[in-house]
């Protein structure tokens, strides 16, 4: 059996449908990413799989055990790093880790080998209170705490939100290392660039999985002709391209704007923009990224 299996998981809070018949499976040893915004239902899904809430309907198994009937077995086998809180701010780095080890009936020493590559970053601050660590360090400590009992499945709910780009990269390097040790990892993130580091990803929105595949396949399935435009006045350019007949969508994309249109439309657009007096105007054909795929799905959603 796969490490995580769900069958039509559904949960509502009052009139809000947090999760709508979500069915998916995560293979053993897979690094599986859930990509979606605040409110997409990611946390609800994690809470069900971590046996903290029961679904209204549907079933789920983690490491072969049923989340309803066999929750005690599951709790022994998983590591869970919730998005907001998982550390005791008034305990030191070392105390937090010892506490989590004792909860699971183990010691830091017993499983030190697994956390050593991560904990070595923290050891110089072992006596500092967790509350006085900054973003990147807190996340590393929380990861150590989630790993201290050698779980077979790891749930990480937005571990890198609010973390700077360099610390994010370090964190993902650590996940790659854990994956190579055979630990199954389910991780959620709003950062599209992190999607590329997963074996498979699910794009999630309003309680549903919109698309599931490898990042490469998702990118390959992008069908529109995608272009990038740049000029001296980017704000005005955004409106001009967006409202030009034949342009399907146009949005900011870092230093450029991305837009989709047929080649014939782009030729007319060039002439039009030249006449509007833009300086240093360039338009070039570009390959789609995961972020462009998300924007395309977003459009389909709105019709």
């Amino acid at each position: 059996m796969d490490a995580i299996v769900t069958d039509r998981l559904t949960l509502s809070y009052g009139s809000v449908n947090a999760l709508k018949e979500v069915t998916f499976a995560v293979h053993r040893g897979e690094l599986y990413g859930i990509i979606g915004a605040d409110g997409a239902g990611k946390t609800t899904l994690f809470r069900i799989l971590a046996t903290l809430v029961l679904p209204d309907s549907g079933q789920a198994w983690v490491d072969g055990y049923d989340v309803k009937a066999q929750y005690r077995e599951i709790r022994r086998r998983i590591g869970y790093m919730p998005g907001r809180f998982s550390l005791y701010q008034d305990l030191s780095v070392k105390e937090n880790l010892s506490f989590y080890a004792s909860v699971f009936g183990t010691t830091i020493k017993e499983n030190y080998e697994l956390i050593a590559p991560i904990y070595s970053h923290l050891e110089p601050f072992a006596r500092r209170k967790a509350g006085n660590l900054s973003g990147g360090m807190k996340q590393k400590l929380a990861l150590c705490c989630a790993l201290i009992h050698k779980p077979s499945v790891l749930f990480l709910d937005e571990p890198t939100t609010g973390v700077d780009p360099v610390s994010r990269q370090e964190f993902w390097d650590m996940l790659g290392d854990l994956r190579s040790r055979g630990i199954t990892i389910l991780v959620s993130t709003p950062y599209m660039d992190e999607a590329n580091r997963c074996d498979r990803i699910a794009l999630m929105r309003e309680g549903e999985f919109m698309q599931v595949d490898t990042p490469q396949h998702i990118i390959a399935s992008y069908r529109d002709e995608l272009w990038a435009a740049e000029s001296d006045n980017m704000f005005r350019l955004l409106g001009d391209i967006r409202h030009f007949e034949g342009v399907k969508r146009c949005y900011t994309f870092g230093v450029e704007h991305h837009f989709t249109a047929d080649a014939t439309v782009v030729e007319r657009l060039r002439t039009y923009l030249a006449a509007r007096g833009y300086k240093e105007l360039t338009i070039r054909r570009v390959a789609a990224t995961i972020e462009d795929c998300y924007m395309q799905l977003e459009d389909k959603y709105h019709g």
């Binding site: 915004a37 605040d38 939100t161 973390v163 780009p165 360099v166 704000f235 955004l238 870092g254 998300y294």
Partner: protein, 245 residues
Amino acid sequence: MDSVIKVEELTKRFGNFTAVDHISFSVQRGEIFGFLGANGAGKTTAMRMLCGLSRPTSGRGMVAGYDIETQYEDIKNNIGYMSQRFSLYEDLKVWENIRLFGGIYGVDEKEIKHRTDELLAELHFEKERNAYVKSLPLGWKQKLAFSVAIFHRPSIVFLDEPTGGVDPATRRQFWEMIYAAAEQGITIFVTTHYMDEAEYCNRVSIMVDGRIDALDTPRRLKSEFGATTMDEVFRALARHAGRKE
């Protein structure tokens, strides 16, 4: 062009730890200024001084025409502030949030009524006037939070990671609002960990170990560092950080 922020040698020490180490820069009216740095580089400490919430150990600064050392109460009245973590009261209705923040910033009762109608019409939110904020989709909440932050017409608004944890579509809508506000002359001071957003700024500063190690337009920074993206510029600078936390 006149400057809305001007600081010289601004420094903040906690005991023998120098969180902000002699930073000097200025921000022009109507500019979108990106304030970047790794976690722990000193951004939050610097921003708290600029917002009048803490006093510098040494150095000088003017924000919105007031001295950060002596006129910090005036600063608080003349700036806008929004963060991802806190911006609106979820258990209050849309109109109640607007009225509360308008009142806190000293906008008079009649003017609040008038501007509330105007704001709701602009956002196409007339139907949501009596809705609880917690019932709004995230994208709407953000638009409302930003509008509330500039409701008292400050000359500058501070945005502290306004888009953390937000999906790509909503982030873009938010940046279009920022652009529009800047076009109207409101100065934008923004922190972010998304490097594509750094590209949307007129100028960007990057803090490393309490100092500003780079400050220029994204285009010039990239050419200076021989990089194609701001992400590469950021990495090149942050790699040399001595301070881990």
